[in-house]
């Protein structure tokens, strides 16, 4: 019967997506190193992210957090070491199942709707409906026809989130998405990210905001001077950090 077939196809699709997610994780890095001008900006990082928990990458300025994110997403190539997603090397096929939002949203010189349309392909009624749904999710549907670059900082970042989510990522990288935003915008973005996380998307969040990390993180990766010092459940990291550097960082003392 048609409804049975539809539900069967639905099950197949959801199984297929689950398979994809299973095959993308775990993320494993081995000896991941980035050297620039003789300086080891990312230094021999061995990291395994196996679960779809929300991972916060913390560390003082210059710790290599954003670079690590770019290395994991393949935006830059490591000097040495490997990045494996589900045992497979990072390539375009893997990267298409991921999305990244940057600290400073990169918006096209087009309308709000056109920025999302840019990612949604092929075009058509279904794409328009999906675009409207994405914009509604981030509270920008009413501003769909306005120029994207005239939005406020928080709105621009929400649009960047909507556009990134249009690719239906299985892994979502966020590089300080709430830096320099007002508290209301921060809250809205955190709610959107939490909703994404609840849908089973793996979220890797770089943040300077310890309070935000405490609110959102389920596990923490702590970097210092390009090295991975801690990788532990968030609760344990915040209550009993294992390294002096992490303790000093949490206490608000400058660690460089």
């Amino acid at each position: 019967m048609p409804s049975d077939i539809a539900s069967f196809i639905g099950v197949l699709r959801s199984d297929s997506r689950a398979d994809c997610r299973r095959t993308l994780l775990p993320l494993q890095t081995e000896g991941l190193t980035l050297v620039s001008a003789g300086k080891r900006l990312v230094d021999s990082i061995d990291l395994t992210l196996a679960s779809d928990k929300l991972t916060a990458v913390l560390g003082p300025t210059g710790a290599g957090k954003s670079l690590l994110l770019r290395l994991l997403h393949g935006l830059i190539s490591p000097t040495a070491g490997t990045v494996l997603w589900g045992g497979a090397p990072l390539n375009d096929a893997v990267r298409r199942r991921q999305a990244m939002v940057f600290q400073k949203p990169v918006l096209l010189r087009r309308s709000v709707a056109a920025n999302v349309d840019f990612v949604l392909r092929p075009k058509g009624t279904a794409a328009r409906e999906r675009r409207d749904a994405l914009l509604a999710d981030v509270g920008l549907l009413e501003r769909a026809r306005q120029p994207a670059r005239l939005l406020s900082g928080g709105e621009q970042q929400r649009l960047a989130l909507a556009r990134a989510l249009a690719v239906e990522p299985e892994v979502f990288f966020l590089d300080e998405p709430t830096a320099s935003l007002d508290p209301a915008s921060v809250l809205m973005i955190e709610e959107i990210v939490a909703k994404v996380r609840r849908r089973g998307t793996k979220v890797v969040l770089v943040t300077h905001d310890q309070a935000q990390a405490r609110r959102m993180a389920e596990e923490v990766v702590f970097l210092h001077r390009g090295r991975l010092l801690e990788h532990s459940p968030a609760e344990r990291f915040f209550s009993a950090p294992q390294s002096d550097a992490a303790e000093a960082y949490l206490a608000g003392r400058i660690v460089l």
Partner: protein, 235 residues
């Protein structure tokens, strides 16, 4: 030889009366230069975009060559086109010498490097802004190029204008390949040169005024478009 005041007065009369010869010359000038600009944009903009986003061995040399071609002497371009289109030349069988088509070809050769080089610089800056986002989205190169050309469209208008300005004010190439034939290939610049040499300053001045007005009008139009685009953050 007319005195300047008299020539000025006659020139204004010619413009005001809508003199048929004058309008024909202006019309042909615009047709030739706009066509050359259009062809140059079709060739030069994608070429500039490809150079902006591509990295390949010898790219630096290619950019140096392209920038150098911006200063192509019009008479040299005219000579090359002449040699190709003359009866003994490889394209002589086309019979295009001393036609507006030959003039369009010459001007296209002249301004394509300008449009390609300027758009390359502009689009490379834009690409610098978008590159990480595009890489994150795994966009194929043709989509990157399309997006850059679309998002840079208002700035590229200025580039096209620079090409048009060069074409419409150019005399060396069109006089060689067009021959400055009355009612056939006579354009504003060649007519100004001819009338000045004959001492008929009125027509030369009238054409000069129109040339200036056209340049000003197109500049004003593009400036208005750009300011509007900037107001809406599209440029």
């Amino acid at each position: 030889m007319q005195d300047f005041g008299g020539a000025f007065h006659l020139a204004l009369q010619l413009v005001a009366s809508g003199n048929a010869d004058l309008l024909e010359i202006v019309g042909l000038s615009l047709r030739v230069s706009l066509a050359a600009m259009a062809f140059s944009c079709v060739i030069g903009l994608p070429l500039g975009a490809v150079l902006a986003v591509s990295r390949f061995p010898g790219r630096g040399a290619a950019l140096v060559a392209l920038n150098a071609l911006m200063g192509l002497p019009p008479v040299v371009v005219g000579l090359i086109v002449y040699l190709n289109f003359s009866r003994a030349g490889p394209l002589g069988w086309l019979g295009l010498l001393y036609t507006p088509t030959a003039m369009i070809v010459a001007q296209t050769i002249l301004i394509t490097p300008i449009i390609a080089a300027l758009s390359r610089q502009l689009l490379e800056d834009l690409h610098g802004e978008y590159a990480e986002q595009f890489r994150s989205l795994c966009l194929p190169k043709q989509r990157v190029i399309g997006a850059l050309l679309w998002d840079g469209r208002y700035s590229l208008l200025t580039v096209a204008l620079a090409g048009f300005g060069r074409a419409v004010a150019e005399v060396g190439a069109v006089i060689i390949v067009g021959g400055n034939i009355d009612h056939l290939t006579r354009v504003m610049t060649t007519a100004i040169a001819l009338e000045t040499s004959k001492g008929d300053l009125a027509l030369a001045l009238a054409l000069g005024f129109i040339l200036l007005v056209i340049a000003l009008a197109i500049n004003a139009l593009v400036m208005t478009l750009r300011l509007t685009a900037q107001r809406y953050a599209y440029a």
